[in-house]
């Protein structure tokens, strides 16, 4: 292909797409799509493509399945990426012009698109996007950091396995959906929680963790039932 673009399209609010992403979509001849199941999220992405790249060709890349039950998470991801690399290479080689990979949120944060493209030695340009953490804080109207403070961005798995990280006061937790905050419920913490952040279905809850955890659990269970999937993100903030 002449050019490959990795385009961050924001966390779910169509208004969070950047002018640069809109311009990039307008130049795309082929949009590579990586999932087949239709969810609210794929519908929202398709709506962006229809609006900003109406004439682009949509190509679904058939991907290998990932072993989500594997205990060696990093290894499982590594194997899965090797399989992806081969299928992506094939898809890219089969097309001409400008190709685009669309990434929810920010391609720089917990996303493997650029890693796979590096693996196959592809040249590409990245258009950054609004991450779900940023969208979460904007929705709650809170700063991610405290004055002169620091913030640890981590995963649900790490919080579940490692507990509260020593010395930290602000934790932004991604890739959870299973209530890893339960593991630190005895700590003096406030939680700012959100799911489908920025989208119409957006859910927000906040308060002292020990007091709102049950309500968040119930909200996750209900939302998962209603939508068939959940993507949540939260900030935990030490109060003492």
């Amino acid at each position: 292909m002449d050019e490959l673009l990795v385009i961050g399209i924001g966390a779910g609010n169509p208004a969070d797409i950047t002018v640069g992403a809109v311009e990039a979509l307008a130049r795309a001849d082929v949009i590579f799509t990586l999932d087949r199941a239709t969810t609210d999220l794929t519908r929202a992405r398709d709506a962006l493509v229809e609006r900003y790249a109406p004439n682009a060709r949509n190509v679904v890349v058939e991907e290998p399945r990932r072993d989500r039950a594997a205990s060696a998470y990093a290894e499982a991801v590594h194997d899965w990426r090797a399989g992806r690399a081969a299928t992506w290479q094939k898809a890219i080689d089969a097309h001409d012009g400008v190709g685009a990979f669309l990434v929810w949120g920010d391609p720089m944060l917990y996303d493997s698109t650029i890693a796979v493209l590096d693996q196959i030695g592809a040249e590409y340009t990245v258009i950054p996007g609004i991450s779900s953490i940023t969208a979460l804080c904007a929705a709650h109207k809170i700063a991610l950091n405290r004055v002169a403070g620091e913030v640890l961005i981590t995963t649900g798995r790490r919080l579940r396995e490692g507990g509260w990280p020593a010395g930290q006061t602000e934790l932004a937790v991604m890739l959870d959906g299973k209530g890893a905050y339960r593991n630190v419920i005895d700590e003096p913490l406030e939680i700012y929680w959100g799911a489908y952040v920025g989208a119409e279905e957006q859910l927000l809850l906040s308060g002292r963790l020990s007091e709102v955890a049950d309500r968040i659990d119930a909200t996750i269970a209900e939302a998962r039932e209603r939508h068939g999937w959940i993507m949540d993100v939260y900030l935990l903030r030490a109060t003492e």
Copy 2:
């Protein structure tokens, strides 16, 4: 005022502004501006205002000076904010319609706009923006995190005073400009450094920290001389 908007306008690339920020600017009657010195950065912001809010009124809010020499950083910021709150309140009360505060990068990260608005009890909406960290990673074409890993967002001051934080492998450093990476130069680290990220003047350097630190020092000194100011951001990544 009828409405107050806090609008993230990205880290310096005009294309990083979101569609939502463009729409918000179009609705603004008054743009509150907080600085008076003319730099490349204020010119770039003025260009965005001219393009997306050509009929809005520009109001410069006279702010108290901040004691940047104070050793008690958090306290100095606190005092400064109290003074700001009074002047902002006055400026807001003096105008009608929709008011907008423009924030470089992301209003959720190391920015005090929403804290000041909270202090005066103002109602507002936040439009998130692309942070300089995201723009840095996009420019270097690197992920912020490693697979299943975590990232600590910190400040130049903390790195200078505290050294390398135990247990961390990825550090995103903001608010430096004084080469705090020098304090960890003996650690096995890679640095991905940038200044004026996303803007035309963008500078990027990367490599083994011990090998590129001198070049980064020299680049900062030259750039500060040429532009009169510098805003840098970098990712430090443990290699062992």
